[in-house]
Subunit: 359 residues, 2 copies
DNA sequence: AGGAAGCTAGTAAGCGCTTTCATGCTTCGT
DNA sequence: ACGAAGCATGAAAGCGCTTACTAGCTTCCT
């Protein structure tokens, strides 16, 4: 007869605090105190416990710990895509600042899906993240905004914080923190730069019409035009995707249509890269025939030839600020600073070689 | 008299499962069953519970859940830096595959520190991640390898898995999974490509001497040389950092020394970018005077002018494989597939414009 | 009709920690 | 020398879930 008795597989499960306690000949309370160092323990006992921990290769269970009251010490960040340098730099800032405050960082990507974004907020909420940072411009959509607001309240109710990074506030009645950068101001400044170089016919290229980022950048652009008494010509505004292909395709189309312009303000550097490629292929020299500027100052701006004049956003700092706001700590862990609910980081224009004065 | 009585701040703490149960007039067990859907519950009851959940805005506590036995459903990935496209692509693969299997992804960065790497493994272990993926080449260091091995065992003991991604195995007695890509083969192939184009004097540039990646790439390079009966000239091997500055500085130095060479094999694309910049500044045309190849095929390879001939690594696939190995699932969630402990993804060379036949 | 099956739902025992409260000592002050 | 004070430790009550195990009802078969 074949022995079908269950042979218990001796899964060498990890030691618990009780195991450590037994081995050290103390109670688990003492072990906990040694680990957390928040209560006096005699030197001898401490050493015994520490030895037991080492011998057993004990690793605390973060869940039990989190459940028993100590915070989970993690922050979550929700971005579009890790590959995109724009998000990657922000993520780096978040990761570093989180680490600086002893937090682990959970990075989640939406890949552009709204539903996934909402689902991820819930997931991070379930994980009881100390803060959830939502990065990137938002689309105008009442229903969607309401969904986000609901989650912001839920998060708030469990002692966490939703931080909006690079997107407008949901309103004063929604408990969120906001870190913004100056889309409008940057667009104003760089448009003005183009104008003072003599350009009058400036094409605005790219950016989905309902994206908050586009709206703000376009507003700055218009304000600069108005400031210098130039007309706002709708025929020069060509909104669209924020990718390379759109820049390439659309500029080729504009060139084919013989649109009259001397400068190009791309909604971001990626679009600028595509546009410059299109210009190059069409034999239009930059900046001699057309000046080009972008926005964001991601690495590709320096790879392009000529190097791209663009608006720099302190992305990493943006991420760091978001964490500070979310964790309610100041620059140097000054927990006593008055609670700040919003921050704005400045932008600056960086002049490189893609703009020439109009002859 | 000022009332100094403690006014209890009514922190609107989140609803628990018990709250939901009370509201729905059932026991918490039933609520759990509705949520998990792993046990029959009558339609009426289910609806009542679901309504209570919605009304209360209940969000499960992932820690309690993890503690009570269900797995935490997260995977951790440890990389050098999110900004580096090499790591970012792998991270993307990991994130996507993890999501596909219903896991949340925790991304941690070491920024090059060994201690931090070890600390992060421990942290992810504490979080009870289903798998911990360690990405990137390793430095030869016995003590360090022993430390990693110890953690691999600890992880294994608690039912998790350490996956080594792009680094050699720690030995058969250490319970890890390994996903590799063919550093040696790719280096062989691209060196041979250079040789068949007539090049005889090939400089090998960059890569820390004790990094496993460098060792393998250099080995492939040497094998190709030997295969074609060419001498291995130590004067042509210039190991060093894997960054742009090293490529730039060293190539300028070699040029100043009037080193005799016609081709350049850079240890990765970043070094190639620096070297090409140095070559450009020195007025040495690529590929006419010097052919250049890189390794990795990160986006910058396509930005460079001329575009860089390089070795492509399916980075995203590498990340996906790592997750599958770590989670012990097959391509299509086929949990019945025999346990695989190691995988190797192939490399291929992508020919662009930075190599010319030697005239 | 009577009991075996088959359902649904509740009870309660943990999971591995933190923390409050209680306890037995040692150490002082007077 | 005796009670007060101070320390170091232990006992035990949760934290919010999951999941045996148990129990009450229907069905259904013989």
């Amino acid at each position: 007869m074949i022995d079908s008795e269950e042979v218990p597989v001796t899964e060498p499960s990890l030691a618990t605090m009780a195991d450590v306690a037994k081995r050290a000949g103390v109670s688990s309370a003492t072990v906990s105190r040694v680990i957390n160092g928040n209560y006096p323990v005699s030197a001898v006992t401490r050493q015994r416990v520490e030895r037991a921990i080492a011998e057993l290769g004990y690793v605390a269970n973060a869940h039990a710990r989190a459940l028993a009251g100590a915070t989970n010490r993690t922050v979550g960040i929700i971005i579009n895509d890790v590959i995109d340098p724009f998000y990657a730099y922000i993520a780096r800032g978040v990761e570093r600042e989180a680490t600086r405050h002893g937090r682990l960082c959970m990075v989640c990507c939406t890949h552009g899906s709204h539903e996934k974004e909402l689902a991820l907020i819930d997931l991070l909420h379930e994980q009881r993240a100390d803060a959830v940072i939502l990065v990137g411009g938002a689309y105008e959509d009442r229903a969607y905004a309401a969904q986000v607001a609901r989650r912001a309240r839920a998060l708030h109710a469990s002692g966490s914080t939703l931080v909006l990074c690079g997107r407008p506030s949901l309103g004063d009645d929604v408990p969120t923190r906001v870190v913004e950068y100056d889309n409008e101001g940057g667009a104003f400044a760089i448009t003005d730069h183009l104008i003072t170089q003599g350009h009058r016919k400036i094409v605005f290229l790219g950016g989905p019409p309902s994206l908050s980022t586009t709206v703000a950048r376009l507003a700055g652009h218009r304000r600069a035009l108005a400031f210098r008494g130039l007309p706002y010509d709708k025929g020069l505004i060509h909104l669209g995707q924020l990718n390379r292909r759109f820049g390439y395709d659309r500029i080729r189309a504009l060139l084919a249509d013989k649109l009259d312009f001397t400068a190009l303000f791309c909604a971001n550097d990626t679009v600028a890269a595509g546009a410059m490629q299109g210009l190059e292929l069409a034999g239009v020299p930059v900046p001699e025939a057309v000046s080009v500027v972008g926005y964001d100052d991601v690495p590709i701006a320096q790879e392009l030839r000529p190097q791209l004049t663009t608006v720099r956003i302190p992305l990493e700092e943006l991420g760091r600020q978001a964490v500070r706001l979310g964790l309610d700590v100041g620059d140097d862990d000054d927990y006593l600073s008055p609670v700040q609910t919003m921050a704005k980081v400045g932008t600056s224009i960086v002049v490189r070689a893609s703009v020439a004065p109009l002859s």
